[in-house]
């Protein structure tokens, strides 16, 4: 279907139309990809496929690779033999095809979704893909960004395009102003609890409203990162002054006259008045309080002030069965106040909440306080640049003085693909994105929280908000 210029369009439609290769057809569109982010864990088979077919990488200059999923965060030396094999392979593949790679130990290395933005390599209106579902993070810049499997990684390496059906669109209106201490993480857990872990299935979300405009770029990245946890294909936020201010001093930004031309383009990147979304969801954030998950999918979340729900109260049989299973796995009884749940480990990091603003929020809570003797706290910066910035601000001293571990960067305990895993049935308050069974360790239990709640929990030894600590 051709969309005439005069028809009001959503931001997603504008980006889509601007990246369609050739004329529109009845079938899927061929969409051009502006930036392909690559990491060691989902690319090896794609490079093998190219090799077998004798195909080159079409645009190594639009491809950037990092090592993040498998790397240790307690050392700059990789000793695990499988990790060594993984990074050796990505190094060989990148060298062979002329792809820029930030290796473990490089000052620019980090989690792929932290590194791209901090370089300024993700800009408004771009299409961005990566073999990782949390690629939705980059939507914070007004880019259309989504995760792909390894077959599609190979397809993009070979063609710099993907054949895709035009997605449906959903407006998510966050109205009102959040109370102090209520973060992008809480807004997204509230959204996912409201619509369910599959509530945005097949849609690209556009986050709108006063509460979104008020977020920093870090907060917007947290928000867009969690789009996939609501089942969405992607999520994005129209660029504004906050976006351009963030990009203004990044190394890969356009400069000189090119910056002016880019700015002129970025100003067109908004949903036109009168444009129609397939669906709209409205969440009033004024009354929200910090959120925490109780179950084994990100939609199973409640305000920290509430209690573990009773599965029998769910009218839907599938939801009831899922809640029973979740409570069994989590070792929780219905009616238990969330604040009474004791925690063994606190993980601060990940592509969701591993940026410097997240570390600042946690450090603010921990300053002058101690991590409970019953709790182990890991602080894993999202990138080596985040680590350096935090050290310049002295945040590492706050963490170390409180008794937390100060690590190098990587995906770490978010997915437990590396050496950072929880033993036994340990219970973790985690700033990451998934509370699935076994995610952080074979039988480990995860509660998703914001950085401030994570830090407060570390001090209290049970799920807590900063205000709980003030009460003593």
């Amino acid at each position: 279907m051709t969309t005439p210029r005069t028809t009001p369009r959503t931001l997603v439609e504008k980006i889509w139309d601007g990246h369609r290769v050739g004329a529109a057809t009845d079938g899927p569109d061929l969409l051009y990809i502006d930036l392909h982010l690559v990491h060691e864990a989902t690319s090896a088979q794609a490079f093998d496929g190219l090799r077998l077919a004798g195909r080159p990488v079409r645009r190594p200059d639009l491809t950037l690779a990092v090592e993040d999923h498998n790397v240790p965060t307690d050392s700059l030396v990789i000793t695990d033999p499988i990790s060594v094999e993984q990074v050796t392979t990505v190094r060989r593949n990148c060298a062979e095809h002329g792809i820029e790679l930030f290796r473990h130990g490089d000052g620019r290395q980090g989690i792929v979704h932290v590194v791209g933005p901090e370089l300024g390599a993700v800009q408004p209106g771009m299409t961005v893909v990566c073999g990782d579902s949390h690629t939705s993070t980059h939507g914070a810049f007004g880019a259309l960004a989504f995760g792909i499997g390894t077959s599609d990684v190979e397809h993009v390496l070979a063609t710099q395009t993907l054949a895709l059906q035009r997605p449906r669109t959903m407006a998510v209106e966050f109205t009102g102003v959040p109370a102090p201490g209520v973060t992008a993480k809480d807004l997204m857990l509230a959204l996912t609890a409201h619509i369910g872990a599959n509530g945005a299935h097949g849609h690209v979300l556009e986050y709108r409203g006063e509460a979104v405009r008020g977020l920093s770029m870090e907060g917007r990245m947290t928000m867009c990162n969690l789009s996939i946890e609501a089942g969405a294909r992607a999520g994005l936020i129209a660029p504004d002054d906050t976006t351009t201010a963030y990009l203004a001093d990044r190394p890969r930004r356009p400069t000189g006259e090119a910056w002016q031309r880019a700015l002129a383009h970025w100003e067109t990147l908004h949903t036109d008045p009168g444009a129609v979304f397939d669906h709209t969801v409205t969440i009033d954030v004024a009354d929200l309080t910090p959120m925490v998950t109780w179950g084994t999918n990100p939609g199973q979340a409640v305000p920290l002030g509430e209690s573990v729900p009773d599965p029998e109260a769910y009218p839907d049989p599938a939801e009831r069965a899922a809640a029973r299973r979740a409570l069994d796995y989590m070792g929780l009884a219905p009616g238990t106040p969330m604040r009474d749940i004791g925690i063994d480990t606190v993980f601060l990091g990940s592509c969701t909440n591993g940026r410097v603003e997240d570390l600042r929020a946690a450090a603010q809570v921990l300053r002058g306080r101690k991590v409970s003797p019953d709790v182990r706290m890991l602080v894993v910066p999202g990138s080596m640049q985040v680590r350096e910035q935090a050290e310049q601000e002295g945040l590492h001293e706050v963490f170390l003085a409180a008794g937390a571990e100060w690590r190098f960067s990587g995906c770490s305990m978010c997915l437990g693909m590396n050496s950072d895993r929880l033993p036994g049935r340990e219970r973790c308050a985690s700033t990451s994105n998934r509370n699935y069974e076994g995610r952080q360790g074979r039988t480990a239990r995860t509660h998703l929280v914001s950085p401030a709640v994570a830090a407060s929990t570390a001090v209290a030894g049970r799920l807590a908000a900063p205000s709980d600590l003030d009460r003593g």
């Binding site: 993984q86 390599a121 190979e154 397809h155 599959n198 031309r261 693909m417």
Partner: protein, 201 residues
């Protein structure tokens, strides 16, 4: 890939919703460099339970997985599809799928058919009672058939054609090389690009 038109098999009923890719294959099993050999990781945790459906000897040769809503939600790991395929699963039927999983499945010839809740519930109930209950997923006709019933399903036309004709996805796209070159010539020069390094940092 070999052309694929239809698959018939007995059923592995998995009465669970939101089965995420971390359950289908935990991350520690995703560290191989090949596209095969993932069957050991398939539902590795859940298979520790003796009564888990994948441990049922009567269903050892079953090839059609019937599951609850939002099957394959979560990560982009194609290993989830490879693990199902390596186990011998040829088709998955559910009321809904994680988007990336469904796309990955079709790229690997694993038929992922979305059917209405009530049909899935009916198939689940019958298959739980009868390990010899057979279902056909007919890609050519875009229809799922079972004894005494059938239901059409939707599938991306391009993915369907690639599977039916056994075509190479990338080769089909590269037929449009001229369009891609023309698009590239019109891209704004200010968009970010990395200097190919020919090496590593």
């Amino acid at each position: 890939m070999e052309p694929l038109t239809s698959h018939t098999g007995t059923v592995l009923p998995l009465r669970r919703s939101d089965v995420d890719t971390d359950q289908i294959i935990p991350s520690e099993y995703c560290r191989r460099l090949s596209k095969t050999g993932y069957q050991d990781g398939l539902f590795a945790r859940w298979r520790e339970q003796p009564d888990f459906v994948f441990n049922d000897p009567a269903r050892a040769a079953s090839t059609v997985l019937v599951a609850g809503a939002n099957f394959g939600t979560g990560s982009s790991r194609e290993h989830a599809v490879w693990a199902l395929r390596d186990w011998g699963v040829a088709a998955v039927i559910a009321p809904s799928f994680g988007d990336i999983f469904r796309r990955n499945a079709l790229k690997n010839g694993l038929l992922a058919a979305q059917l209405p809740d009530e049909d899935v519930a009916q198939l689940m109930a019958r298959a739980e009672q009868d390990a010899s209950y057979e279902i056909t997923v007919d890609l050519a006709g875009c229809v799922v058939r079972w004894p005494g019933g059938s239901c059409p399903f939707e599938i991306d036309g391009r993915a369907r054609r690639l599977l039916l004709e056994g075509l190479d996805d990338i080769a089909v796209t590269l037929e449009r090389q001229d369009d891609i070159v023309a698009y590239e010539q019109g891209r704004p020069a200010w968009l970010p690009a990395f200097a190919p390094t020919g090496g590593v940092n």
